[in-house]
Subunit: 227 residues, 6 copies
């Protein structure tokens, strides 16, 4: 560990799309330099290019658990960087260090800002995959709505041209569904967050930032308390 | 397929404990010979000896999905033979054939017999692992209670001597918790089912039988309708 | 009991519409001949021609309980053949033999196949009557939607001409509501099941078959265990 | 209708135990003489002596519906005087006049006084019968607890000697379960209400009074509005 | 207290709009003269002209608690006359006398008449404010729907011209959302209640009347029991 | 604002107990110096010495809303420093800046670490006050349990001698109730957090730190995004 470092967090992108990993790094870079906590982003070696089904999620879950087990000693907290939170329970079984899922963290971040939250999903299929998650978390009755954007991960990560779709959907969640905060339901959409927040006037949550902040909180409060 | 066969069901024991697989075969043998539907039980090659944590469950999930994908053409329905239903969503992604989880099926079997159900778990840790499952399924408010037996899988499968513990716990679920039916919360306890049902006077559900019956129902009604 | 018989199930149509009773017999005939379990369908003497209100359901409930009490010795399991499950708790009070309601059984059958289920109801009034049932069962949050067909029981039982309405509604439940399985919300619609399943690509559940399968399961597993 | 009368309410005791009917009359007598609304209590002819099972409840449901249908013209509101609310939906189908169930009304009366309510049940079997009701009503999460008194209807109606049991159970609901109001879970316990309220310092709700008050409210506000 | 009086109820309008207070007095006048219980309506001195935000609700809550504390000796029950039930828990902390909120009471009144209820709100913003209330009360799953009228309090209280909007929305709640009873979601709409009930054929609940009736019930049954 | 400052957060202790405010400052001091975000703690002028009832909570709510309105321009985020989250909705009405409640934030922090959470409350009365909050938030089914410590705020803030009570209760929540994380249910208990976490081996959440971290996250991610 760097002698200046106040702690280390490993944020794992459970797919092998380096563009997503890079976008995650940009999204959380200021958290790291600001706080003195090192935040490392890493793609999962051998993972599929995208997590686009429950089968993909199942495939990476044991790989994530194995990685967390191997790296346990070197980090103070781990973040699973996919909205589906693949392998979260399995990873927690491998370490006493805190492990956060960006899906859960982003939902709780939204719920700490507003009574009803909305979600922007990449596709209709994603919407279906999220339903049992909301029910398991017990937040179903606080979901104002979830709308599909019908865009690919690649478009979400790198295309400004999809922004109007995000804006339309977010305005619909705000005005027709009553959402007081909106979660970006995929790891690669951080570039649109601030602009969308400014244009809608309600809080927009990027899940990678939400997960990283929870890890940061765990690291800093543990430091604070043990100082 | 056997020319006499009315269909084929593959019941996968997602661990490599052959004693459990054998016990599963005994539990469902009469369903097979009675109905003309072939029911095959199989251990999962390369799986851990037991599924005793979320990490174990995560490890076998992609293996199950792969197996179901490979065997899709040869069977009319699949059953995942572990109460935690590992990889169920992933398996369903791999095939249009119905895939049943014995955990889910046993809970629904109990709920079709009584307003409140109970569960007998092997250990206290199992009880903790089951909670989010009940919540995801939406059956939390119908759970009268779940009690740990503090026995191993090996004891559950092969030891008559643990029966008094099952009886005590089942009577407690019936009398103190108000359970009208009780689920055996592990794949290997079928040998105790009938005796426990006779001694308690309430329905006792073995999950392997419950899952196998659902698969049987899917096969027979599809046949019936298409005849 | 027939010496060849492996058990007997009484499926009671709680109305006096013989066309419905006959349709029920057709729906489950193959289950019976396949398995060696005798399945008898019977109309409820003195019942109204249809169960089209809570008043009708209340009227037949004590008649069903009386019948189950009288016939207890002759059958191994009973099935109440109306989606509203009239008199289910009362019937269970009259016998230690298992009593299944086709409404409950069909919902649980759907839930063992998919995260979210849909229901096709005969009429808008039926939709209203079903809501407290879903809530009592605790499955409200897993209901993707329920759509009225605006057809009569007679049309459901005997008219091919109503099929396009079923297909339209089932596709809507699948595509707009996200249902992964659809329940036919009335006892007489089995004739449409397989065609609807083939045309939609998702599981379609006939409640009479679902109830009969649960009874079959109870009979066969009790036999299996006691053999 | 009496020319002085401001309206008429029929409160039906759905059993044939005249002692219960008489106790109901005493419980609501002052509501009647105070308000000018005539409140008539009546036993249900041909009903069992007590409603002590779902089979009893099913038996009286159609009799209640028939009676309400016959008497519709003569009354402005109806009250079903049994905590299980037998036949409530069926009765509502027979008339446009409001029909109240004392079980529902007593629960809502308690919930308008406190966040968490408790219930005193005659027996352990009653407790089991009430669970699906609480779940259907959606009040499960606000139930602090329900305790059985292990007394008969006859004792509840006419014996002062059972009072200590009520007090012990009510204090337990208040102190250990956190109940802020307690419902007497049977039609005949009104005689204990005020004393129990004085001794516990929390609101005690008699269901017959609660149902009668809702009927009174419907009659008076309809009068008020139409004056 | 008047020597003829059977008790006194204080109904507090927590805003300073005297037109609303006057409308409340008209709404409950017949309850008072009919029953011999004195019902006094009073505006809250120093309150804002309307309760149109959570900030307004927060502002009046301690004023209400103080008033209830000061007036405790002079009244047998208190009613908070705003659908948001501001300060209800705080008022209950100040007195052992029962304190009712008209929002809660109107919802329970509707639920004792029908399985699903609807609400007519003044504005879209009101709809958003009501959601956490429904969830806290546990009645979320029984809400058929809530529709905004887009009218002001002044229009609700004094304008016949807004009636068509109420009727349209109530019919929509009845026919499209399945509401069996509809609550007027603001204190000043009583003048429309009977007409709306006649035109829709379903029960319409005025919250001020519902709250006053609960207070009346508490006063009369306490009298009855203690006589 | 300090030219070095990366943002400012105002954490308001809504009572006038300066010892609590000082303890809050200690709890979050390291977050501030670490991150460059200024965190100011302030007692609420004119507030009661403790928030020990809903009446106290109601009293401070409008004072908090007024303060937030007045200070809006000077801060980037606000935190209400009482587990009951008094005036949270009202404060949010006064500003577009994010306002966090430490109660909500601590619960969500716990839920992002474990499936079931526990709470340590100062007193039995606190436990009762928290129930409707958990229900409103929708986290009721994830609450493993809440236990009262029967200690005063003063003891919580300044006495090491109460630690054994915290430890006993936390171990009970972990071992008997199945809590995977435990929230300290009062603003002044941070001094015990790390020791309790070390002794129990599960995450212990201090609500002031949890609320401060959410505010920090909002400030840093807004900076990050707008940089």
């Amino acid at each position: 560990m760097n002698s200046q470092s106040r702690g280390r967090v490993l944020i794992i992108n459970p797919n092998s799309n380096e563009a997503v990993t890079a976008a995650m790094g940009v999204a959380i870079s200021c958290l790291s330099c600001t706080t003195g906590v090192e935040m490392e982003t890493r793609s999962l070696a051998g993972a599929p290019f995208g997590i686009e089904s429950e089968a993909d999620a199942a495939r990476v879950a044991p790989m994530l658990a194995e990685l967390v087990g191997e790296e346990e000693a070197g980090y103070d907290a781990f973040v699973i960087g996919c909205f589906l939170d693949p392998g979260l329970a399995a990873c927690r079984h491998m370490t006493k260090k805190p492990v956060f899922g960006i899906g859960e963290c982003s939902i709780y971040a939204a719920l700490s800002l507003a009574d009803q939250f909305g979600v922007l999903a990449l596709s209709r299929a994603s919407v279906g995959r999220h339903k049992p998650i909301f029910r398991r978390l017990g937040v179903w009755d606080r979901l104002a709505g979830e709308l599909p954007l019908s865009i690919s991960v690649a478009e979400a990560v790198s295309e400004e041209s999809v922004y109007p779709r995000l804006l339309d959907a977010a305005l619909c969640l705000r005005d027709s569904h009553g959402a007081g905060a909106v979660v970006l339901g995929c790891a690669g959409m951080a570039r649109h967050r601030q602009r969308l927040q400014d244009d809608t006037g309600i809080s927009i949550i990027d899940p990678v930032q939400a997960g990283a902040m929870r890890a940061l909180g765990a690291v800093l409060t543990n430091q604070a308390a043990s100082a």
